[in-house]
């Protein structure tokens, strides 16, 4: 079996993606020593490489634009090479947080109220009026983040209206459309979902307790700065409800193979959907691998199974 692990790319999460790629490729090599597992960046030589030495399967581990927005998966699908993970069409829905939230909300999943507005609207209508209207409708505090992107880049929590313009500037640094979402106070939990032998399984939730009020880039990738609990410190009923949300989201958006859903569990035990990732981080401090360890599931074995599944389905 010849497997190509795609990582890197040009997004702001390039470094995270390279680390995810190295970790998964290493786990695959350990699980299947007889397989040829190669890591590759997404660059100008990728297509000729794929044509000259066509892999049996691709594992895309690109984070951020191009990797998760479906564009690259469209290309892989066009080439007819089987790959692990969600289709291009499903990735497009999941990657846009506003679209994903709307779809899951329509199906009855609770998600914080939000609006998403492009920079051009603020320019045309005047930022002050638009921000007043949004803050008036959603109230404070608000979470401000780019609609597309991960690793909390450009994300901030705004407690007073005077801080909104600076938060908008920080979010627009990473994208042209910004999501403003009502802040729900509670326990932050990440839930991994994977498919195995026609079953869809939810891993135990990983509870995230960052040093500050935000699980930001520094808190995500500096070992020691965030405390994790797996399983999350929830009652059985609430933990199951959170897992049900993750399974639901995976199915509603038509995701495939694996995903990670982030929720906030409020004081009443209600899980609120925040976002879903079609290429979950796989670094040393990432959440999905922590949940696998807690469940005694080998990352290498799981990936190998998904590779074999992708090859047998032929796409």
């Amino acid at each position: 079996m010849h497997v190509l692990v795609l990582s890197g790319g040009l997004s702001a999460e390039r470094d995270v993606s390279l680390r995810s790629g190295r970790r998964v490729a290493g786990a695959l090599r350990a699980a299947r020593p007889d397989w040829e597992v190669v890591e590759h960046d997404v660059d100008a030589v990728l297509l000729s490489r794929l044509q000259q030495h066509r892999p049996d399967c691709i594992v895309p581990l690109l984070h951020g634009a191009a990797g998760e927005d479906g564009a690259l998966r469209d290309v892989i699908e066009s080439l007819g090479i089987p790959f692990v993970g969600s289709t291009a069409a499903a990735s497009r829905l999941a990657f846009d947080k506003a679209v994903a939230k709307e779809l899951v909300a329509q199906a009855g999943v609770r998600t914080p109220a939000c609006v998403s507005i492009p920079q051009s609207t603020f320019r045309e209508l005047g930022a002050g009026g638009v921000l007043d209207a949004v803050a008036g409708r959603l109230g404070l505090p608000l979470v401000v983040k780019p609609t597309k992107g991960g690793s909390s880049l450009g994300t901030s929590i705004v407690h007073v209206a005077a801080d909104l313009p600076a938060a908008m500037v920080g979010a627009f640094a990473y994208g042209d459309v910004v999501l403003m979402e009502s802040y729900v106070s509670g326990v932050e939990v990440a839930l991994g979902v994977f498919e195995r032998e026609d079953d869809l399984l939810a891993l135990s939730g990983v509870e995230i307790v960052p040093e500050g009020d935000l699980y930001d880039y520094e808190a995500r990738y500096t070992a020691g700065t965030t405390e994790f609990f797996c399983p999350a410190r929830l009652t059985d009923a609430v933990a199951e409800a959170a897992q049900a949300v993750a399974l639901n989201v995976h199915l509603l958006l038509g995701l495939r193979d694996w995903s990670r859903t982030d929720v906030i569990v409020d004081a009443d035990g209600t899980p609120w959907f925040l976002e879903v990732n079609v290429a979950p981080g796989m670094t040393e401090t990432s959440l999905f691998p922590q949940a696998l360890v807690a469940a005694d599931v080998s990352l290498g074995e799981l990936t190998a199974d998904l590779v074999e599944g992708a090859v047998s389905r032929g796409r």
Binding site: L10, V144, A166, G170, E218, T222, G224, T225, F229, E284
Partner: protein
Amino acid sequence: MSGGSRLDPWVDSYASRAHAMRASEIRALFAVASRPEVVSLAGGMPFVQALPLDMLTETAQRVLVERGAQALQYGSGQGDVTLREQILEVTGEVGVTAHPDDIIVTTGSQMALDLVTRVFCDPGDVVLVEAPSYVGALGVFQAYECEVVHVAMDDEGLIPAALAEAIATTRAAGKRVKMIYTIPSFHNPAGVTQGPARRAEILAIAQSAGIVILEDDPYGLLGFEGEPPRALRADDGEAVIYLGSFSKTIASGLRVGWAVAPHGVREKLVLAAEAAVLCPSNYAQLTVSEYLATQPWREQIKTFREVYRERRDALLESLQALMPEGTRWTIPAGGFYSWLTLPEGLDATAMLPRAVANLVAYVPGTGFYSNGEGRQNLRLSYCYPEPERIREGVRRLAQVIEGELELTQTFGTSHMLGDVSGTSVPSPDLQ
């Protein structure tokens, strides 16, 4: 809290100085800057492709064939004596004369910076540095828990009156000023150079205050006009510790630098060096020594000067042609860098993600301050990209600044909410 995992069992064991060693969103962006699509005006990598690599190959091979047993063995903690004699030929170009025993060879001048700080500074001691200053020096001073006080510069570098005032103010506050750290020639990151009169004034202030000057001079031989500027150390062998390097005049990968220091200091530096690394690499030292003995090194430095002057010109011409009104920059007479000031109200740190998305990179000014200043500034490095790429990079940067001006106009601010913490400069292996 207990029962959870922090993914690092030693988190409660680290020294307090390690708490600032954290992942950084800004540093992560530099990973993108290493891609060929991006014009990186960020890193300070010398253009080693201008070296005669075939001749260097022969030189390195000759060292192994003829002196392999010595090259691959431990050496003196102070460094190879022949190389120290040759270093004096090099320092002679900037007027520094000394005895070979006054020199200690180090693993790049960065190590000399570390050793001098280790020998001089206790936690809480004050080091006076330029505003802005070399990020690698700030990192060393932070590691030894020094208090860094920035002193204003103008187009001729460190301002003597500001230096005198900083000494007086710091001492009046009951603090001990241990060193004045300065880069007099072709400053990193500011791109400015102290004139002869300015140097004399700075030296006189330090002498009168009884404070040692740490003179960092990696770019001194890379001036674009006339003779290399005369080093501060050339006029006082007791009050100045001089740091030099082959990183920019031969090759940064060899990691060979040096310090010229008064006898008492040098004795301590050698002992400190032995405690840190036992000895610098014999192989690297003998390779440099062989290169200096057999190759036209002065001619090679001329080649480097021409390469960098052409790139400096490309940068300055493009900045002049393309930068929006209100943008200012320094005009370097040598070295690798120009220091750019953005139009009023813009924030170089907040703008970096947008710049990288537009395939151009720079280093935000905050990395060159220990006190959070420099948000309106950025460092542009012209040493590595070809002139055509530099022009393209400036074109992209101008677009980004225009976009940022529009954003500022829309929201009335260009600052992000909260500070971006952690290291905000690229690692040394990035372009």
